[in-house]
């Protein structure tokens, strides 16, 4: 595998191609031989990864890293070649020799061989830097990406364009994208790369910067740059045309072989404005199919067709003129659309849902066909399903596959938002969507339609308006008061959503961060303070709720549900609240005639219940509740979508003698300068679920699992608003009783002292006084930091930011939410390390 970016950019941050493209045989064999020497010297049995740096002007090399284990790139290497590294490594661990094992794909040839691949793959990292406030976007030697995609094709142009679409950040390939928010200085962007580097290269071509100059600034091998330039040149040729009739078959084929989507062709040739793009794309599709230009299905067989292989691992390419496989078209297959790249907000939980849907489909006697392109997932293991299309989840590619397969139906509700967003467009192409109808999905997704429905059913929502003029926004703020949640449709910089607490913040945000216009309205929503947030994960059949699970957030509303700590079953909800939630859930299921999985998010304050949003698809928390409840919600939902009978379970979530707590994993230490504070944009990169017989026990287990530890002695408290101070008073008292030493920033210390809690005051970081909070953190005199922001706005006070960021940088456990801090501190007072029960999942009954 060869990195597209030169040494200095972490492999996890680099575009990677396989096999290597710019190395001669002599160079390749040299590195291979050294790798083998290392492996033999170290005595590897199993898997090993060796990273090299190679001089671009000689055969000089350096070994950068040797990992004597399965590495991040092992999954990529396995998917790129079809060679199951972990499986074979496990067999070697059991004592087999390589020559005694068979190639898992051919079943007849030896596992002792090196894959010969007859295609090219391209891995592209997925970053989510926009989710963080203040983060440095430069890429370099530490890894910031949160996921990756892998594109397969038979030319570099084809795979890089496919891959850039797969990344899922609204890009259409290397070219044909909306005007980019690249800093005005392209040269700076090229020499000091950020996550936008590849698009900066496109912009450089646009500005007539030569390949040699780009090479000087990026040190990306000219071979790659020449290929990119070729894509750019094709776009220029397409742009010179103005109708499909003037587009020659030869140029169309060349464009398709170079990875151009129908969308890119429509935009370049037809110059269609964005609003009319959907029709234009279909027009190009029709034109293309009439000209007989369609992609072909090829197998990944590990040995370049040298031996016959019954492999179901497939991709599509325009560099072909026949299919490797035949299509049954017998109405006995079901297509499951996967969840794409891991990113903030969509990680392995949706892949779990897809895999469970696939397993259920197969159990029910259908063949399961998967479309997905994330090399890190289980759903893209070719032995999970009957056919795996490792390819794009774009409308174009999904339709290409459905044209060939003619499946009985398509499941779009287990792969998260990517397939969900295709619902209406697939439906308009008469694709048989299983489960809830596309029209119902649209009624839930479209804010206006959903509001109208709620009004009709008498269901309460936080007041909101979609507004395009500043005066209207001010008028709305006068009506409902602050704080307000602002969701822009066009972002200039920084994170998309924000909460503003007063008129000044509102004005700043609207003027600096977002563009408000008729084309780009903002949605302004009333923000309820100190409200509980509650989630319902449920499965319905033709509008009747078959199973539901209610989860309760530990934090008050304002923390994204993906970041929140969730307790299931709920421990502190009024019966009245639960009753109302159940009623609303049933009403919505019935009104939208839901068949399949769905999720509703509620706000509750006192006994007032409001609906925030409703998703007619599997949710992030379904794997968690399925594992706690020990009922597989996705299996149930899939059976319903397949129209199979299901048992109506009377398992009530309140009968469990144990409970589960989901806690979130954050990666702030990797994201230099990012403010480690929780807000309405999701920031966590993973999660854990732990069981316990008591809320505090389960919470403690889950917090320890995401990296918190029992503080040894010293805890720094800086507890924000008066209300938060009250929240933390009782835990503080217990900590002192337990023998902990508390430190507080001035206000907090004063408050605690006034209430009879022993505390030592520390000066703020910007005060030239001692003892100072910052010194204590830097000297690691503090074992845990609780710093609660004083308000909800992004522009937190510098002092608080410095405390939080330093805690992260000095690896001191940090909690920034008063409710969570209160729960955790109470938990450590109630339980010591020795009190935590070790029990397996099936011992909880």
């Amino acid at each position: 595998m060869e990195n597209f970016d030169p040494l200095g950019i972490h492999t996890g941050e680099s575009i990677v191609v396989a096999p290597m493209q710019t190395l001669s045989n002599s160079e390749f064999q040299k590195l291979r031989e050294i790798a083998l020497t290392i492996v033999r010297h170290v005595g590897i049995q199993g898997e090993c990864n060796v990273q090299f740096a190679l001089d671009p002007f000689s055969e000089e090399y350096r070994v950068i890293e040797v990992n004597a284990r399965l590495s991040r790139s092992s999954a990529l290497a396995s998917k790129a070649t079809g060679y199951p590294l972990a499986f074979i490594a496990a067999k070697l661990g059991l004592g087999y020799g390589l020559h005694e094992l068979k190639n898992s794909i051919t079943k007849v040839t030896s596992a002792f061989f090196e894959p010969a691949i007859d295609y090219v793959v391209c891995k592209i990292p997925r970053w989510d830097m926009n989710k963080f406030q203040g983060v440095s976007k430069q890429i370099g030697s530490s890894m910031k990406s949160v996921g990756e995609v892998m594109a397969i094709g038979r030319s570099f142009e084809e795979v890089i364009q496919k891959g850039l679409r797969m990344i899922g950040q609204g890009m259409h390939g290397f070219v044909g994208n909306r005007e980019l928010k690249i800093s005005k200085d392209i040269r700076k962007e090229l020499s000091e790369p950020t996550d936008m580097r590849i698009f900066a290269i496109a912009a450089a071509f646009e500005h007539g910067i030569s390949i040699d100059e780009i090479y000087e600034m990026t040190k990306i091998d000219k071979w790659f740059l020449q290929k990119l330039k070729y894509i750019y040149d094709i776009q220029e040729r397409l742009k010179a045309l103005n109708s499909l009739e003037s587009l020659s078959t030869d140029l169309l084929i060349e464009a398709k072989k170079s990875g151009f989507s129908d969308f890119q062709i429509a935009r370049s040739v037809l110059k269609t404005p964005s609003e009319e793009m959907e029709d234009a794309v279909l027009e190009v599709r029709e034109f293309r199919k009439k000209a007989g230009i369609v992609p072909y299905v090829k197998q990944i067989d590990t040995l370049a067709a040298e031996y016959p292989a019954q492999t179901n691992y497939l991709y599509l390419t325009y560099h072909g003129d026949s299919h490797d496989i035949s299509f049954e078209r017998d109405n006995r297959s079901v297509v499951v659309l996967g969840s794409g790249a891991y990113r903030i907000g969509s990680s392995v939980e949706f892949d779990w849902c897809c895999v469970n849907a696939i397993q259920t489909i197969r159990k029910e006697g259908y063949r399961a066909i998967t479309i997905n392109y994330n090399p890190e997932t289980v759903s893209t293991d070719y032995d999970t399903c009957d056919k795996l299309y490792f390819d794009e989840l774009s409308l174009e590619r999904v339709l290409d596959i459905l044209d060939l397969e003619a499946p009985m139906g398509v499941i779009i509700s287990t792969g998260g938002q990517i397939p969900n967003n295709l619902a209406l467009r697939l439906d308009s192409q008469h694709v048989p969507i299983l489960g809830t109808s596309a029209l119902s999905i649209d009624r839930a997704e479209d804010r206006h339609k959903f509001s109208m429905m709620c009004d009709g059913l008498g269901i309460d929502q936080p007041r909101w308006k979609e507004l395009a003029a500043m005066e209207d926004i001010y008028a709305f703020s006068d009506e409902v008061g602050f704080p307000l949640l602002i969701r822009p449709s066009y972002v200039l910089s920084g994170a998309a959503m924000n909460v503003v607490s007063n008129r000044d913040e509102l004005k700043d945000y609207l003027e600096l961060a977002v563009r408000v216009s008729k084309q780009h309205p903002v949605v302004v929503t009333e923000f309820l303070l100190n409200a509980k947030e509650i989630e319902v994960d449920a499965v319905a059949r033709q509008g009747e709720v078959i199973l539901y699970a209610i989860g309760e957030h530990v934090e008050y509303a304002g923390v994204h549900s993906g970041d929140a700590t969730i307790v299931f079953p709920p421990q502190k909800l009024y019966f009245e609240t639960v009753r109302r939630i159940k009623k609303i859930t049933r009403q919505i299921a019935k009104e939208l005639n839901i068949s399949g999985p769905f999720n509703i998010q509620f706000l509750a304050r006192d006994n007032e219940v409001k609906v925030i949003e409703c998703n007619l698809r599997a949710s992030r928390s379904m794997p968690f509740v399925s594992k706690i409840l020990k009922v597989n919600l996705i299996e149930l939902a899939t059976k319903i979508m397949l129209n199979r009978p299901v048992e109506i379970l009377d398992k009530s979530t309140f009968d469990l003698d144990y409970l589960g707590v989901k806690a979130s994993q954050f990666s702030f230490h990797r994201l230099l300068k990012a403010d480690p504070v929780l807000g309405v944009e999701m920031a966590s990169t993973g999660e854990v679920g732990c069981l316990g017989e008591d809320f505090h026990e389960a919470l403690l287990k889950s917090m320890l699992s995401v990296g918190y530890s029992f503080p040894k002695k010293n805890i720094l408290l800086s507890t924000g608003t008066p209300r938060d101070k009250v929240e933390l008073l009782e835990p503080a008292r217990r900590l002192v009783e337990k023998g902990y030493q508390l430190y507080g920033t001035k206000g907090t210390a004063k408050y605690l002292e006034e209430h009879g809690v022993k505390v030592q005051a520390l000066a703020w970081p910007d005060e030239n006084e001692h003892p100072n909070a910052l010194d204590y953190i830097r000297e690691k005199k503090i074992d845990m930091v609780v710093n609660v922001p004083k308000n909800l706005s992004k522009n937190e006070l510098q002092n608080d930011y410095v405390i939080r960021r330093s805690a992260v940088d000095f690896n001191i456990p940090l909690i920034t939410n008063a409710r969570l801090a209160s729960a955790f501190l109470t938990a450590i007072c109630r339980f010591g390390p020795e009190d935590i029960k070790i029990q397996s999942w099936d011992e909880y009954k």
Binding site: P19, M20, Q21, T22, L23, S24, N25, S26, F28, Q29, R32, E33, L36, P56, F57, S58, G97, L98, H99, V108, T109, S110, F112, F113, E114, P115, A116, I117, D118, Y119, V120, R154, S155, F156, D221, K222, W223, Q226, K227, Y230, D250, Y296, K298, L303, A304, A305, E306, Y307, P308, H319, G320, D321, S322, D324
Partner: protein
């Protein structure tokens, strides 16, 4: 970058026609169509004399990326090529890289092909062609430039070895061990591997009668075509087998060794051509990844009692080398000299040197 638009067709004897674009010599050619699954090493493969008479299909789709290295040489041997010219009849690939990028490249693959008058085409479904060859076997085919008509040709009607062998005796190096190299189409790296090991090489034509020559070791090289065509070599080799001077053979040399020992060879359906062929040393757990390029194989059961198999192919169980039970004679069907391909079996040359040392004793 001006791209060619001149059409070229690959027509297979079984009837399939593949349309593509010409990027090499503007002409037509017939030959036997074979495929190679290596992902790197086209300058080496194209100059490998074993490909004489063959139209080569590369299964790896992106070709030409690193251009073509310079024609510099050392001791009369080109540094970066396996012989003095391109030996394939024609080249078929999927995606040609018009632009190349490599510190050691001096020209493009297309320019080199043109200079050597070798037709080449890209833009075809090489995987589909490979599947036909796999199912139907390597077969006659032709590259037709701009619709030109030409007959199919069976290269096995020709004496391919005679076409690629040296016409005269040439001596290389000045080392301790004198190796008589029978050139049936020898690859340069076999000579490099020997010269690096303190040898003097006397390279002789394929049909040269070496029975009067003085040497410490006899080396039978690789080469193209059907081994049974090399009657003269087999005759001379049979005589050498009666003596005790060490003999080593590679590829065609393995097959000739078997024939000279009284055994038989047969044509494989589509041969072994690639860099990932697994072989196992008989009677051991030793295994190697090898570079291979052959269309014929030795039938190990046909050998007399004095011989035993040395290596077998882990994929299809075919013979990959033989060894004499008492005398210092052995051969490998794969290429320990590699180029292109993995280099881990180069120790076979050390074994040969050791045998010569023992013989000189």
């Amino acid at each position: 970058m001006e791209k060619s638009v001149k059409p070229m067709q690959l027509i297979l004897k079984e009837g399939s026609v593949f349309e593509g674009i010409s990027f090499g010599h503007e002409g037509s050619i017939a030959g036997e169509v074979v495929f190679n699954t290596a992902m790197t090493g086209y300058p080496e493969s194209l100059t490998d004399p074993s490909y004489k008479g063959q139209i080569l299909v590369l299964t790896y789709p992106l070709i030409g990326n690193y251009g073509v290295p310079p024609m510099t040489s050392n001791e009369k041997i080109l540094n970066f090529f396996e012989s003095d010219k391109i030996h394939i009849s024609g080249l078929v690939i999927s995606d040609y890289s018009y632009e190349y990028s490599h510190w050691n490249a001096v020209r493009s693959l297309a320019d080199w092909l043109k200079e050597n008058k070798i037709p080449a085409m890209y833009g075809v479904d090489t995987r589909a062609i490979t599947k036909i060859l796999r199912e139907e076997g390597a077969m006659p085919g032709k590259l037709s430039f701009c619709g030109e008509d030409l007959p199919f040709e069976d290269p096995y009607q020709r004496n391919l070895v005679a076409e690629v062998s040296t016409k005269e005796v040439v001596t290389y190096g000045n080392g301790k061990y004198r190796v008589l190299l029978v050139d049936c189409g020898v690859k340069n790296n076999i000579m490099r591997c020997l010269l690096n090991r303190n040898t003097t090489i006397v390279r002789v034509p394929w049909d040269y009668d070496f029975s009067k020559e003085q040497y410490d070791g006899l080396f039978i090289s690789n080469g193209p075509g059907d081994p049974k065509t090399c009657k003269a070599t087999i005759k001379h080799l049979a005589k050498a087998l009666e003596q005790d001077i060490p003999i080593m053979g590679i590829c065609l040399g393995n097959q000739l060794m078997g024939l000279a020992a009284g055994g038989d060879t047969f044509k494989l359906k589509y041969g072994h051509r690639g860099h990932n062929q697994p072989v196992q040393k008989s009677g051991t757990n030793k295994t190697y990844i090898t570079s291979q390029n052959h269309g014929f194989a030795l039938d190990p059961d046909s050998l007399g009692e004095d011989w035993k198999p040395l290596y077998i192919n882990l994929n299809d169980g075919t013979n990959e080398g033989v060894i004499h039970k008492n005398k210092p004679f052995c051969s490998a069907q794969f290429h320990p000299e590699a180029t292109s391909g993995p280099v881990e079996t180069e120790f076979l040359f050390d074994d040969f040197i050791e045998a010569m040392e023992k013989y000189r004793g």
